[in-house]
């Protein structure tokens, strides 16, 4: 098998994939009571897809990915408030703004160790949070940006109270970005990313422009994260400084790790598991949700993800002892 055909093999659709997406796109129907949750899951899944692009495929660890999410959210909300209420235009605007921000911020990720990278990405998100907090006249400060009124999607579908239209809107956007990302990571260009993730020095020596590729994927991922943020602002008609919060970035890394990094479905599946768990646990103990997520995280890291999702290996480990 030559290189081209092996790439084609990779990008061929597996049989279960269309089923998965059909079920997902139909879910606001057969789970109509949970449309709001589905909307949230779709948004987080899109956000996770974005992080997976840089973390799973290019090996850039970020604790501040919420920077782009928040930028998209504010951009879309402000666009709807001051310029035009159409959601699709707002979405495009949000993507554009966060892509530009991503291009600028990509300058900061070229150097240093994983620690530096964690700190710098976190710092960018925190600066934006501080800005959103202080620029009262523009963002509404700590109270958040209110009075965002969205028009109907494509001029036809009004957002309803039960969130069905919102869920569909988010799901379709997620699907589109998923297709694009899938196409991208399976292209030769995407292949070079994985090469530099695995061994940067070797990638450089076979002629891959490492810095340019890192900047490119970081910028693209920023745009995708911006789309997720825009969806959140549009479907909730609200944006607050909380979109930049550190917890959001940390949760995101967590759910990509749960789902499995470097596999586009990882973020999507992680988002489903995480959001459903969160919804479920916080309905039992609303205040102490963080305890359980913390415990989950600690156990997951100690035991290893591979073993947690494959319960049958627990027994064989016991035998070895």
């Amino acid at each position: 098998m030559n290189a081209t055909s092996s790439l084609h093999e990779f990008q061929r659709w597996k049989r279960w994939e269309p089923v998965f997406w059909l079920l997902a796109l139909a879910s606001p129907w057969w789970l109509s009571g949970h449309a709001l949750l589905i909307n949230e899951v779709a948004i987080v899944a899109l956000f996770a897809l974005s992080l997976d692009l840089i973390m799973g495929y290019a090996g850039i660890v970020s604790l501040g990915h919420a920077a782009f999410f928040g930028m998209g959210a504010y951009a879309a909300a402000l666009f709807a408030k001051h310029i035009h209420p159409d959601p699709v235009l707002g979405l495009l605007f949000g993507i554009a703004v966060s892509t530009v921000l991503g291009a600028v911020a990509s300058l900061s990720i070229m150097r240093g160790t994983s620690l530096t990278l964690l700190m710098v990405t976190m710092g960018v998100a925190l600066i934006l949070m501080e800005l959103a907090n202080k620029l009262n006249w523009l963002t509404g400060g700590a109270d958040g940006l209110q009075g965002v009124i969205m028009g109907p999607v494509l001029g036809r579908f009004e957002f309803d109270l039960y969130g069905q239209v919102a869920a569909w809107y988010s799901l379709v956007v997620l699907f589109v970005f998923f297709l694009l990302s899938r196409r991208f990571v399976h292209s030769p260009l995407g292949g070079t990313l994985m090469a530099l993730r695995d061994n940067r020095l070797r990638a450089q020596s076979i002629g891959i422009p490492v810095a340019a590729r890192l900047a490119l994927i970081y910028t693209i991922a920023a745009g995708v994260a911006g789309a997720a943020g825009a969806l959140l602002a549009q479907t909730t008609s609200f944006a607050s400084v909380e979109v930049f919060a550190f917890d959001r970035s940390a949760d995101l890394v967590l759910l990509v790790v749960i789902g499995g990094a470097g596999w586009l479905y990882g973020g999507v599946i992680g988002a489903v598991i995480f959001k459903v768990l969160q919804d479920w646990i916080s309905s039992i103990t609303p205040q102490y949700w963080t305890f359980w997520i913390g415990l989950f995280l600690v156990v997951l890291m100690l035991v290893g993800r591979e073993r947690v999702i494959r319960p049958w290996t627990w027994i064989s480990r016991g035998k070895k002892k």
Partner: protein, 292 residues
């Protein structure tokens, strides 16, 4: 103006005490421990409980806070942290964030989410003014003077331990090459256990000292985690003086920024950090040939 400088220095030194334990675990043991703030919080809460419920004097609370968090650190090191040493940094980060989340929720459960207040003894409450009314007026709170004194003593002690004692050389040997160190008869596990306990204890001490100045509530570890990390990342992790200078720089910049341009208080600190880290990714003060 001198007052601001002094407050900045005192604040920086407090940050240093809080963060130096992290620089020990992170720099020497190469473990990214984001749960460091949780140990500091434990120290702070220990002080508050001991003082308010049991009437222990403040000065006695400080070593108790150190011992309490050191003990907790030792227990956790033996049970949870050790298997994580060999894992990638991302796993360590997530693991320690998990611990932090748990600590936040547990404190919230037992002590409610309201702020805890420390009553300082009378002799620490005063304030000394020098050069009244001039542009170079210097006002020094006695408590801040106390913090500076503790910090200077700690720095000297740590520097001596690391560079002059047998334990220090064992630690450095274990860090540089675990297998060779073990082959030379150094009990690497014990060395790491002690180091981690000391690092956690220092955090606890910092938390106890800072309980009056910083806001002590269950979100403490998350709020100050960023500051500790900045100190360590900017200062570099291979020495004691690096984090000290970084903490001073940070403290002065933060206090001065909040005083002169309050609109952009925390902004300055983050901005400074990003610029420094892009400029020198390994931190400002790095030993040549040191472990990255």
């Amino acid at each position: 103006m001198l007052t601001i400088l002094f407050d900045g220095i005192a604040y920086g030194m407090l940050l240093f005490i809080l963060a130096v334990g992290l620089s020990v675990t992170m720099g020497l043991m190469n473990f990214i421990n984001l749960a460091h703030g949780a140990f500091a919080m434990v120290g702070g809460y220990l002080t508050v409980i001991l003082m308010q419920r049991h009437g222990v004097p403040f000065l006695l609370c400080l070593p108790l806070a150190f011992l309490g968090s050191a003990l907790l650190g030792a227990v956790l090191e033996r049970t949870l942290y050790r298997p994580m040493y060999s894992k990638p940094h991302l796993n360590q980060v997530l693991f320690s964030i998990g611990l932090t989340f748990m600590a936040v929720a547990v404190m919230d459960y037992f002590f409610t989410s309201s702020q805890q207040i420390v009553q300082l003894p009378e002799w620490l409450k005063g304030r000394t003014e020098l050069g009244d009314g001039t542009a170079w007026e210097l006002g020094m709170g006695h408590y801040r003077l106390f913090i500076v004194a503790v910090c200077v003593a700690l720095t000297l002690a740590l520097q001596t331990i690391l560079s002059r004692t047998r334990f220090g050389s064992r630690l450095r040997a274990s860090v540089d090459d675990q297998r060779v160190a073990a082959g030379l008869g150094i009990n690497v596990n014990a060395v790491f256990l002690l180091t981690f306990a000391a690092g956690s204890g220092l955090a606890g001490l910092g938390g106890a000292l800072g309980a009056e100045i910083l806001i002590l509530d269950p979100s403490f570890p998350l709020r100050y985690m960023v500051y500790f990390l900045i100190v360590v990342a900017v200062g570099g992790t291979s020495s004691i003086t690096g984090p000290l200078l970084a903490a001073l720089l940070l403290g002065i910049a933060d206090v001065a920024g909040k005083y002169y341009i309050p609109r952009f208080g925390a902004f300055i600190v983050y901005f400074l950090m990003i610029v420094i880290l892009i400029w020198r990714p390994q931190g400002l003060f790095v030993r040549k040939g040191g472990k990255a």
